[in-house]
Amino acid sequence: MEPVRSASTALGLRLLPWLVLVATLLVTWVVWEHEQQSNRAALRSQFDFALKETVSRIEQRAAAYEQMLRGVQGLLSTTHLKDRAAIHRYVETLQLDANFSGIKIIGIVERVAAQNKPEHILGMRQSGHDGYSIHPASSDSVSALIVQREPAATSSGSPLGLDIWPEPVRRAALETARDSGMAAITGKIRLAIDRPSDAPPGFVMYLPIFAPDQPRDTVAQRREHLIGWVYAAFHMDDFMASLYGAQSPGLSIAIYDDVEIREAALLYRSTGLSGSSSTTHTAAWSANEYMVVAGHTWTLSMASQPEFESRLGGDATTLIAGVGAALSFALALLVWLMVHGRTRALRLAASMTEELRHMAQHDPLTHLPNRALFSDRLNQELARAKRDSGRFLVIFLDLDDFKPVNDRFGHAVGDQLLLQVAQRLQKTIRAVDTVGRMGGDEFVVLVAGLEDQEAVSNMTEKIHHALQQPFVVDGHALRVSASMGVAVYPDDGTDELTLTRCADDAMYRIKNQRQAGINLASSAPA
């Protein structure tokens, strides 16, 4: 289970930086998205407010114009419809150019029955309008004739006497004003004072004038006692320009007559917004409001423009995205450095520990087990042999004639010779056996599991023979011999101390005899 756990831990550590990166980027995204949503909600609120404000400003302005027109209506309740001078003076005092710049004309429409037309024409001519005539000719039983326009200079090109009753758009507003007793506006029209070629979109607001001191509580009474209308004519552009307050930046508005959004019904489009740009840009926010102005429906179409929408990706969201992403990568990098630094440190520590352990248990020159490790192996073999009633050998081995090699060729060659001896000993013994170096030119061999004397002899001879073969070191052919002392377990001892002492003694005995060879401890003199 341990390797599995450590493998999973290692995998976890490797993935940790990525997990941190994903988690922090996710947090960044959540914060960014939240900010976006807050922005979107705020802009939605701004958009709704701007729409409400625009509708309100238009309604208020229309109401102000209606109020102004009611002043004229009020004047006509105190004077006669034909008192042109009074109406002229009254309109002059309104200072149309300043306060009511949206209005092009204020005028009077007189309702004239067909049978009264000759008398009407005569009266108009007698009042100073010499060439006055009714146009266009109409067979209707009633006419609605424009009998006065103020300021007169504005309408000098349009003669009085225009019968607007046959014209359906104007007639609908005239009838609505008559029947309701309230203000009514026309749909989109060309004002009579404009040239047909370049007339901007316009509309007219009418207020009914009833005969004084006559009841007007019902529709029938209003129809019976109507004597005319007072009206104000507007260019839509001027009307919109006269609104109080400023339009919210980045929002385009268009106003259409009635509820249909089509180019022919377009009354107004905010400046800086051409038809093409409005179609190429897909607005993030748009709304249509069907406003009712003086009994008539206008469709106000409002749409957001890139300038408005650019506030969605405001400074805060950009900052959050930038800083969040940067911090995410920085944090992930930090975790990666920490994880990999720790892994490298652990690997280094393990490697150093192994090296130290090797150094503590091996001879630095030959890398053979040293006395400590050999002692450990010997004790293991003792335990095994005692358990299995087995036998094994401990061989002490000392090179003869090594000192002259050192003296003659130097220590470097001597060390190379010791290394080759160690290698040759390792090749000679079996894998289960152990060869160690006690120091100087002394080696020790543990030969495990030899059951009889013949096997003992074969092994010792094999080692002895191997060492008798010449060594080639640095171009020199060197010959060394070895004195070997052999102790056999359990014949020569049953513990480490006894066995090693026996083997050591046996080796020294034969070495003292100054003849290389093998000496068994059991052959020692009693």
């Binding site: 509820v259 709304a287 069907y290």
Partner: protein, 259 residues
């Protein structure tokens, strides 16, 4: 003689006391109507609210200036105290802060939806984000209808209008696919061109009371109580039901005023 004089004096004092206690007619009042189906038609200057206001004015004996205003403007003016009264108002927590009400009828709300939208219930409508609803600016409805409108508002699926007429036109042109209506709007459904292309979905909310709106800022509590009393008297003596019967069948009129 003396007895007769004292009796006359006592009666005169009672009349004086009654007048002193009555806050009515301390000034000229203002009342605004809004153009909305059978409630009031500006084109004919007639409707339920016009009749109710005429009767109220007659009973109060006060001078009242009646005008026509958009509904959104009426609520603004009521809140500011620039307008004293309006009619057929419904309340909510916000309106309760600046207005008091004297209820005189109650009705349910319905969703009028185009048949070709495939909508069979409210969930169908809400699910299809291509469908838009038309509402009258500043109008509130029954609870479920309000919740639907608020959700659609955030989804940019609302087109607002200044009155019913343009919303009907927008519905016919398929610019909007639904609108919220009340029984006062039923006569419009008698027109075949609307009836043929629409169906009605119920909100399943209880009836919502409608009443005389009184500006708390403009009217003292005693004045509000006095005008409320006039409305209650109109309900009690059957005047209101008779007004409604001019516009509805008797059973529907009774259902509206008996709540």
């Amino acid at each position: 003689m003396i007895r007769s004089f004292l009796t006359a004096l006592v009666l005169a004092c009672q009349v004086c006391a009654a007048h002193a206690a009555s806050p009515a007619c301390s000034r000229t009042y203002t009342l605004a109507l809004h153009d909305h189906g059978l409630l009031y038609s500006a084109a004919t200057d007639s409707g339920i609210d016009k009749d109710v206001s005429d009767e109220l004015v007659r009973r109060s004996g006060c001078k009242v200036t009646v005008s026509l205003l958009p509904r959104a403007r009426i609520w603004q003016l009521i809140e500011s105290g620039a307008l004293d009264f309006s009619l057929s108002g419904i309340t909510n927590a916000q309106r309760d802060k600046f207005a008091s009400f004297a209820w005189y009828f109650s009705n349910k709300y319905y969703l009028l939806v185009r048949k070709d939208s495939g909508v069979k219930n409210l969930a169908d409508f809400e699910r299809n984000d291509q469908l838009k609803i038309g509402t009258i600016r500043s109008f509130r409805y029954s609870e479920t209808a309000n919740q639907l409108v608020d959700r659609l508002q955030t989804a940019n699926r609302i087109s607002q209008g200044g009155g019913l007429a343009p919303l009907y036109q927008a519905l016919m042109l398929n610019n909007i696919q639904a609108m919220i209506i009340e029984p006062f709007d039923f006569p419009a459904l008698e027109e075949a061109k609307i009836r043929d292309i629409t169906s009605i979905v119920e909100f399943n909310d209880p009836s919502v009371p409608h009443g005389l709106i009184m500006s708390k800022k403009a009217l003292e509590p005693a004045e509000q109580a006095h005008w409320s009393g006039l409305v209650h008297a109109m309900r009690a003596d059957g005047s209101l039901r008779r007004i409604f019967e001019k516009y509805f069948k008797p059973d529907l009129a009774a259902a509206l005023v008996n709540f």
